[in-house]
Symmetry: C2
Subunit: 447 residues, 2 copies
Amino acid sequence: MKSDAILTDLYELTMAAGYFEHGIQPRATFELFIRSLPPQRGFALACGLESALDFLENLRFTEAEIGFLRRLPAFQNISAAFFESLGQLRFTGDVMAVPEGTVVFAREPLLEITGPIAEAQIVETYLLSVVNFETLVATKAARVVRAAGGKDVFEFGTRRAQGPEAGVRAARAAYVGGCAATSNVLAGSLYGVPLAGTAAHSWTQAFSSERESFEALLDSFPNTGILLLDTYDPLNAAAIVGRLKRKVPGVRLDSGDLASESRSVRQILDRAGHAETRIVASGDLNEYRVRDLVAAGAPIDAFGVGTELATSKDAPALSVVYKLVEMEGNGKVEFKAKLSPHKAYPPGRKQVFRICGNGDYERDVIGLARESYPGAIPLLQPAMRHGQRLGRRPTLQEIQGRAAESLSHLPPEYQSLELAAHYPVEESRMLRELTDEVRESVLRKEP
Amino acid sequence: MKSDAILTDLYELTMAAGYFEHGIQPRATFELFIRSLPPQRGFALACGLESALDFLENLRFTEAEIGFLRRLPAFQNISAAFFESLGQLRFTGDVMAVPEGTVVFAREPLLEITGPIAEAQIVETYLLSVVNFETLVATKAARVVRAAGGKDVFEFGTRRAQGPEAGVRAARAAYVGGCAATSNVLAGSLYGVPLAGTAAHSWTQAFSSERESFEALLDSFPNTGILLLDTYDPLNAAAIVGRLKRKVPGVRLDSGDLASESRSVRQILDRAGHAETRIVASGDLNEYRVRDLVAAGAPIDAFGVGTELATSKDAPALSVVYKLVEMEGNGKVEFKAKLSPHKAYPPGRKQVFRICGNGDYERDVIGLARESYPGAIPLLQPAMRHGQRLGRRPTLQEIQGRAAESLSHLPPEYQSLELAAHYPVEESRMLRELTDEVRESVLRKEP
């Protein structure tokens, strides 16, 4: 998968061709937002902006890609001039965006793209996909980390991710959401996510006894080795660990009743003088099971969470959409809105105004960009101008810090695992009035 | 994401280092299987083998990757010789595999890797991830396609996939499962999946009237243009289409009550002389909604299925695992088994024997590779020897054909959307006896 330019839906390219053929080249503004949050989610943690900006900065079509498109039956009536223009196409537009690690809600624009309509259209599919998935996992991670109540959470999900590349994206997003580390080495290398790992059952099996396998692991990894206890019988394995006359950094339980087994293992280790040995638990964990283990007082020091985190298993997609809200041509601005009954979205370039009281988030108002709410935090910030990134790229640690900060201002009732209350988000009067105007003008034209 | 070698879990590399440091370099056999099928699935359609073989053929660590690993704290006690060996590492092993597009069940090995233990270990994470996700989507697609009862199904999910790369993988796997086309252009270019597309709401909005937008689309795409009806009001839009004095290849409905709206639209189009115009329906479809629309006799010619298909939303991961079953060193074979209570898996190299009656699949027997069941189909076939692919690469069309053929032999009770019966899969007596022997020998060593 070498190219990202044609990693898009066919209709983005047919529309771009159609605009070109009809000389329709206005500047257009599209907004990307989550239509509604999954039933189990009280908030989302914005993520995916850096992937989106990287994509926009590098957008270009190779000769081979253009050759492939030319030969598609759909394009048989399209002029050579269009394909020549594709070879020159770069993203030259502007981007407003909610920074990664910000708490957001449904219908709030997370990304706003303004540029020549063909450029802004072609990028739709890729932008939706990265914001969808990375926001999904960052949000899920925030839930799991909160449930862990201060214990470390390690992201272990690549093997069950929706493809290995999704594993890399999940590892980064999970760190944004508050995870301490990932097992995904490429994510460590690309993004600086701290790495964590233990050993598999095959390690134990490769030796002629468990004791031998444990000694061997600690010989090679004296400061980081974590011994897996459940290849045969966990308590028997814990007794073998207890008899080791050396430092044992940690042990891992991967099956069975984690609450009772962690207690038995802790007791065996403590009696054997291994009070410093950490217990890591894994095996089909999610935020609910982690919460229950913490509530039960299970002596677990870190949770390894895989499948449920890397796929956001209970809600594996967000209803992200990308809608045209404004067009500017011949010096005049036209407001655009989608008005179909269940999928309507207001017109015009917007801003999200976050209103706080005593330092806590109280409510958000989605208004027009030109409105102002003194004292409110405007969430959308300039991220790119004329195709160039603005400001320096934040470190992943900074983004994780921003997420922790943002979550600390969100009252707990919106963060509970069983959703208790909906955070108030309203539309400004000016926005509602503009929506009505656009609706009336469409009805006049399409009676 | 340029490299795939370090797209793995840290523990694969620490174990490889540990094996190296202890001079443990036997040939090992690992088997990859699905521990149990999701509750809603009566079968799985194997997919991901081509991705797995591509990965194995190209496995190598770059200098930069090795440099990154060397600097990790976990590796501080590992010798320089190990890192030098990593630079030379290629996959030199053998692969047995169930061909893509074969119906398979839980606990049946889909892939069997035999090679030097470090090589076979390092590849675990990537192989699990590709087989997991591609099998998941091929299976979901087979369900949707069956529900569509002969109508075309288009895969439209990239925008909601778990990252854009997952969208590409999903597009290919959905085609294997029987979809007619995808919207993902890169999947068309890389794998030859047929492409389909329509237009977005923004196309309609970019023009000053719906009529004008429809005419413009058909000017550029006279043979393939599909007009989107629900930007404002679908029936009004259908009436506008009815008045067009030209060929209209298709229209699309993307919201509302698709059964009743498709009927009204069909009537409007037929009365206007557009009987040839196809109706495409989309909008949060899955196999159940498609089945209900077909059962209601909705005049829909093709279904566009996105999010639910590309993420296998109701079951977004398979419980794929990769287990050591055999080790061979100093001329003798040792059988290995995982024996932990809920996650046990039998030892030894296996074969899946599919027993048929009157051309239909009747039951499968998981036995040892050296067993034979005359007349049964052995599912695992040689796919790679000494790191080299065997035979030619099948075309995607051939794989899709194999899937259709395999599904045609699976009795309908195992394919119903509401799972009615479990296909019988048993373990052979020899396999059960070997499991008991290995269990007893472990118990003798670890009392």
